[in-house]
């Protein structure tokens, strides 16, 4: 009889592929078949689409209806295909304009009464449609705000299949406006934690600012109650706000996880702190049908904080090595490969021993040396290798806390300004190179002629290397941190002081 065609998006990670939804109605006993590697949720679309069409005062012909999702070899999942399937059915029967639906990409889950429900993943779907050069997308009105975050694409928001059909030229009476489904609770806008609340930890705060300025990964070591978590939680507040593309990435990952994304872009870098019992799948992402983002992807462009790092399963920690290296996380499953952004700043925190008291003044640690060694061996060398700053945090004595209370230290505001200035300086210096942050610059480049430091400046490093106290890799990390310290000072290039201080900032844990 007839074929109706429209477009939808199949998501794999944050990448989406344009999918053609074609519906054929042919003579035969009534049957509704969906083909094209659809998952269970899409196969069940038959029930939703059939009832939604009937309850929108349209009819499905009593014939054989075949819906094909093409490319047929690409696995597809999720409920966002409902709207496209329903409209292609209506076009096949001539109820809506086939030409009109052929120009629009559709996404949205249908309810039995024909309403369009808020659907997860609308933001990445709209972005994928724009990347594929599409100009119009139709989305549920509950997702209109998040869809309109994407620039340069026309968003048509409709509340029901009836409204969608009318937009595409169906001769139907306008229905009652559908009451919006109760909103899924959105993320409360991140309350900026004040850096000034951290008392008497000047060294640790300085290390935190250095980490923020250079994009360096950070390891905080200290007894319980010394403020490691407090420090880590304040890192997003002093990081520069996200760029539009980065904020869209962050929101897309949230949208994919089913979180409601509001009308304005959240430019505060995300902060994720998975519990130490988290599995590898929870941290990197996974799932057999729909591949969901894990903590690393949710923390992309922000901070991934692993509290009690040695308590994490070793395999989980080692999973982080690849994303730290490439900035992407790739998840392979039997029939698909999903890719998520994973450019995180890693902050690890650990106690100095299993009981936590080792090295703290006026406390007794009873852990045998073997237990302490075993405790740290869980954080593997290759992971520690990627961490530029390793800082010991001490408990604050009452005298120090009192003293700190009298003269205020760094606040979030002042720290952020310093970080921004240092980053600008680094970016200016690194223009014309593929890097923009000190943490990403390879050691070989830092040691090569145009930026190499004077022999007198790097004498402490050379001495450490000779004595065997410093490895070549450790040498490069100290150099990187020294550059960040110079950027923070507003200096042209690192001096002896910067190098010495950088050495101090990584001496926390022998690696």
């Amino acid at each position: 009889m007839a074929v109706g065609r429209t477009w939808a998006v199949s998501l794999l990670g944050l990448d989406g592929a344009i999918v053609e939804v074609e519906t054929d109605v042919s003579a035969g006993l009534p049957r509704f078949t969906i083909i094209g590697l659809a998952d269970r949720a899409i196969s069940e679309a038959e029930g939703r689409v059939r009832q939604a069409i009937v309850n929108s005062d349209c009819t499905l012909p009593p014939h054989r209806i075949t819906v094909n999702l093409s490319p047929a070899g690409l696995p597809k999942n999720g409920t966002a295909f409902d709207l496209g399937i329903a409209l292609s059915c209506l076009a096949a029967t001539g109820a809506v304009s086939a030409e009109s639906i052929g120009r629009v990409v559709h996404a949205g889950e249908l309810g039995l009464d024909g309403r369009l429900r808020p659907t997860p993943g609308i933001l990445p779907i709209v972005r994928a449609a724009r990347r594929a050069g599409r100009t119009v997308v139709m989305v549920p009105s509950a997702n209109a705000a998040e869809a309109s975050l994407v620039p340069d694409i026309e968003v048509v928001a409709v509340d029901s299949l009836r409204a969608a059909a009318i937009w595409h030229g169906a001769e139907l009476e306008a229905g009652e406006p559908v009451l919006d489904a109760p909103a899924a609770p959105g993320r409360p806008s991140a309350r900026a934690l004040e850096l000034g609340d951290v008392l008497g930890q000047e060294d640790a705060v300085e290390a935190l600012v250095t980490a923020a300025a250079g994009g360096h990964h950070l390891f905080l070591l200290g007894p319980p109650g010394s403020g490691k978590t407090m420090l880590a939680e304040r890192l997003p507040g002093i990081l520069p706000p996200l760029s539009t593309e980065a904020a869209l990435d962050v929101c897309s990952v949230r949208s994919l996880g089913g979180e409601r994304v509001g009308a304005s872009l959240d430019t505060v870098p995300p902060f994720e702190s998975p519990h130490h019992t988290a599995t590898a799948a929870a941290v990197v992402g996974g799932g057999s049908g729909l591949i969901r983002p894990g903590a690393v992807a949710r923390a992309s462009h922000g901070v991934l904080f692993l509290d009690e790092a040695p308590e994490f399963a070793r395999v989980v920690l080692d999973c982080l090595r690849q994303p730290l290296e490439t900035g992407w996380i790739t998840i392979h499953r039997a029939n698909a490969i999903a890719r998520f952004p994973a450019r995180v700043q890693l902050v690890l925190a650990a106690n100095p021993c299993p009981c936590g008291q080792y090295g703290a003044p006026e406390s007794s640690c009873q852990c045998p040396p073997a237990a302490i060694r075993r405790y740290f061996s869980r954080v593997s060398g290759p992971l520690l290798d990627r961490i530029d700053l390793q800082v010991t945090v001490r408990r604050v004595s009452s005298a120090a806390a009192r003293a700190a209370g009298e003269r205020p230290g760094a606040t979030t505001e002042t720290a952020r300004v310093r970080v921004l200035e240092a980053r600008e300086r680094a970016e200016h210096r690194l223009r014309g190179t593929p890097w923009s942050l000190n943490a990403h610059v390879p050691g070989s480049w830092l040691r090569s002629s145009p930026v190499a430091l004077a022999p007198a400046t790097i004498r402490p490093l050379d001495r450490g290397l000779e004595r065997g106290a410093l490895t070549m890799r450790g040498y490069d990390r100290v150099l990187r941190v020294a550059w960040t310290l110079a950027d923070l000072r507003g200096a042209e290039r690192p001096e002896l002081d910067d190098v010495s201080r950088a050495l101090f900032l990584r001496k926390g844990i022998a690696a």
Binding site: A27, G28, L29, P30, P62
Partner: protein
Amino acid sequence: MARKDELGRRGEDLAVDFLERAGYEILARNWRTRTGEVDIVARMDGITAIVEVKTRTSVASGHPFEAVTFRKLKRLRALAAEWSASDPRRSAVLRIDVVGVVAPADAPAVVEHLTGVM
């Protein structure tokens, strides 16, 4: 006769009229064996059609075509074989058809014919 049987009978009469007008020759009506019953056996151009007729007064509880289940089709398939084996007028090609009749009390009936549904 129960009301539903009466309706079924009326539907079958309408289906026979429809098929005859379309040029079919009716070979049998309500042909019964131990397996079940064939509503109509019709023939045109050397093809024999085993026809199942479904009748409804309205489509409120679904189109008549929707009432033809997989089990019903399986039974028709078996009946077709039995017809072919028993009737001397058998032809080389057998086909299973469905005729749907929507016959409201106060409006003219609508007859639809699906050929080769299996």
